[in-house]
Amino acid sequence: MTSYRDAVRTALQTLLREDPRVFLMGEDVGRYGGPYAVSKGLLEEFGEERIRDTPLCESTFVGAGIGAALGGMRPIVEVMTVNFSLLALDQVVNNAAVMRHMSGGQFEVPIAVRMATGGGKQIAAQHSHSLENWYAHVPGIKVLAPATVQDAHDMLLAAVEDPDPVFVFEHQMLYGTEGPLDTQAKPPSPWKAAIRRPGKDVSLIAYGGSVHKALAAAEELEKEGVSAEVVDLRSLRPLDRDTIIGSVSRTHRAVVIDEAWKTGSLASEVSAILAEEAFYELDAPVARVCTIEVPMPYAKHLEEAAIPQVAQIVAAAKRSVVGG
């Protein structure tokens, strides 16, 4: 078994060894070994040129990453967490996302950006955001959310190989989780959702840190005679509409689990897709289980109450299936 963080490091090593254009840039990725210990040991193997500790200037080192990609390199930029990426949003939205389209196809920005996301560690409102939906809203970039150890490895390889800007969100609660890792097998397309557990009565649709909670909820529902299917979105832009619609066309009920705030969330997007394209398959309204719309509180019992938990998922599924 391998840990999620080791899977990411393995991918980084493979990329750095095989392609001289690849280099890693970010705060404390070198000497400190990475804020989540993902890049430990890489400085010793690849040196200061290709493992670059940056000053605390998110806008400029993300912008420099975009410039280096324009200049023919394949940079991997680590923005410590999505919370600090807000300073770099201008470079992302006004440069990375538009360069190819606005230049009439002349310029390519093959950059991969990794950042931790999500809450659950009692680090309060400024450090616990889930803002994947802000990035998944923007045409011109792609967004991935690896929930498993295998995806954490495969998706980073795909992100660096892709000619377009790709943003990979690693939920901070996953770094320590363990799972099987096969570095030889040919990985499935990262742009397709996956059925992590088949079921007949209701589709639990989730991504990133919420997938494990959906699986746990499905186990509990099984005991109460409700067969739940778990769909892991994996790709947040583009969304794999066919797999989502396919699943709900079999179960006729959907519960979407998303650690972001409900308003304007990816859960809202999935719900709108189902209302527009699977309307005649729905036997109950689409349910959304999201974080309570409040700045993330520090106290443990408050944070746990705010973030979607297994119990809320089970309740929502039962309301959808049994009704009343």
Binding site: E49, T60, G63, A64, G71, R100, H101, G105
Partner: protein, 325 residues
Amino acid sequence: MTLDISRDDALELLRDMIRIRRLEEKSAELYAKQKIRGFLHLYIGEEAVAVGALHALREDDNIVATYREHGHALIRGIPAGEIMAEMYGKANGCSGGRGGSMHLFSAERRFYGGHAIVGGGLPIAVGLALADKMKGESRVTACFFGDGATDEGEFHESLNLAALWKLPVLFLCENNQYAMGTALDRHVSDSDIANNPPAYGVPADSVNGMDVVAVQRAVHNEAELVRETSEPRFLELKTYRFRAHSMYDAELYRTKEEVEKHKKHDPIEGFQERSLRDGLITQADIEAIEVDAAKEVAEAVDFAEQGDWEPVETITRHTYARDLS
């Protein structure tokens, strides 16, 4: 003090400045006639900076500019027709009609564009220089920006990062005395802009941006130093824009007298008189240049008028490398 340049250089510098001015005058006319829409920022008065600088840089150097970039694009080699067509929004424009006046691009000529976010181009220039350094290519990345950009966080971050990682960036600040409607001394604490960069270890100098020969010489010296040391340098070019910030600007922030005072240092008229006085060029040369410029502009307008509109069906093309649907 006589000009120590050849006749050919004098003709070349004068020609390019006049080409820019006639193109910009025509753009103003076409904007009034609603052929060009959106925002339009004219370069009239600042021609000596683009001409002097681009004549001093090499064809292979990277150029990153701002939304006031028609002059830089034209002298860099993007055909006047493609620039005009782009301002019309036609498919045969240099950015396919997608960018407009503020976003002229040319991959072939390493012209990394017009950038409309003030200061937004600086990190890109730092990144381009980083890529060249890592690939072992000895190329200069010239980054043009206005005095307004020196207020942005990215300006300070970029100077620091370029100095820290010793990146071959030539920061060229076109100080035209105004950040849109705010005069220099009302938006910077130290209006001697060249004082800032040394705080980050970036050597800085200043030059009269109205004197095309001085600009060419200064940019040449700075660029060669950057090329040799692969370390960033900074040059302030003091200049002045004779027209409003953009087409919809009542210029409440400055007086007519101030504009007239600066117009006496018109970079074209000044250089024209000195070249005539030193016998480098003749009145006939000037008329020939004017005729050529008028012809180039007329052909550019025709090229734009003949261009097609991009059909809506291809609107999503180039959003990604391969279409997602």
